[in-house]
Amino acid sequence: MNELYNKFRSLKDKIMHILVYLALIIALIPLFSILFEVFIRGISAINLDFFIKPTPAVGEIGGIANAIQGTLITIGLASVIGVPIGIITGIFLSEYSENKLSTIIRLFNELLNGMPSIVIGLFAYVLIATVVGFSVIAASFALALIMIPIVSITTEEALKLVPASIREAAIALGMSRWKTVIFVALRTTKKTIITGILQAIARIAGESAPILVTMGYWKWWFAGLDRPVANLALDIFLFAKSPFENWIVLAWGSALILIIIILSINIVARIIMKERY
């Protein structure tokens, strides 16, 4: 009786195993087919023009150089705003964990984190684009709002994992509490924090909705922070819905570049996590 039961259990175990693997394969098929499709089609778009020319006039040949430039500027400005605010917020949350203000900030963080990015875009539009106009500033502000909760939550978690014994060592050397946080705790955990920052950057690199709301399309080169710039994610849409064959090829090319950028950021994040220092 017992033996039969055991056999039944091991059979059940095997079936479950097979089902889990099957589910995994089913989940991976679309992912790989998308990557494969983008790679095959995108690679045919790639040539020198693609990298050095800006958005072409209707029907003409061009590239995505201005979109790469614009994406880097937008992400860069968003990071300049979002990373310090995120880190400082994270420090505050970990150091004043019990504080009332911390509870409120955490609530905001969760709210921001869960908010559809287009709503964040709309917020940036009302607050900034209606004053300055469609601009890099408005777009970067929106993207910074997406980064802040990610960076601050990672920073808070990372700082909380720094052992109390390490902080005590610093304090016993006559270091003030704030010097301890900045020179010891942050340093001890900088890998985790940098990884969090890179993940936040990877996340905003592919955002399109908030860009559309705050900046719209722009087919030229960068012309100032109070003007729009081109953007890879938006270019994909612009090119893809056009009737021209050579533009559609550009859309695939842009998609490939965007995926490569995001993938590289993730790989760098992984390498940093593995390194000892």
Partner: protein
Amino acid sequence: MSAYKIEVENLNAWYDYKHILIDINMKIKERTVTAIMGPSGCGKTTFIRCLNRMHELVPKAKVSGKVIFNNLNIYDNNVDPTWIRRKIGMVFQKPNPFPMMSIYDNVAFGPKIHGIKKRSILDKIVKQSLEMAGLWEEVKDDLQKPASALSGGQQQRLCIARALALEPEVILMDEPTSHLDPISATKIEMLIRKLAENYTVVIVTHNMQQAARISDYVAFLYMGRLVEYGPTKEVFERPKNELTERYITGKIS
């Protein structure tokens, strides 16, 4: 100036409402090793943490009484606790080098933070401190290696070097050998004797033989009270208090 480096007067300490140390009076001579003994939970760690103002870092912790260091009460209102902690260094029970820093940086860190920038001066401090801690010969070619690559005993000596780099006058140690193998422990014991030539050392230990080997004075704490204090030899041979005798003979632990 009195011959005492530290004079503890009516020291009381609390964690929230828990009264841990009760009316402790104790005078510690300069350049001696004083061992603090007593059963687990009697307040040894709390006591030495009161000597460099680390106790107050615990939320709701309180202290009353005086700790006079070089004729200055460290609990006076105008005393900066970070200055006290530089003058009265501390080595912890578990070796705790800064994990993301090299051996060199671990030692240079204190002086750097307190304003020494010149590389040549830092180099000298690092070398002297590591020599003093008996670690120089073992690590002089690996100064840039991460501190976490050292053995436990080496890490503990690194922590001692790190404390020495600030040129303290007193060094507090909380069971510094309890996490180490016997050979590493012996090295640290010999080091402590050597340190007493230049520094005043206060060491918490559970190990009676260790206290007998390395200390000049022994203090015996029992449930937050100082029940016996005197020259090591006297206390071990003729304890005045019955509790001390029972502790020394292993009847209470």
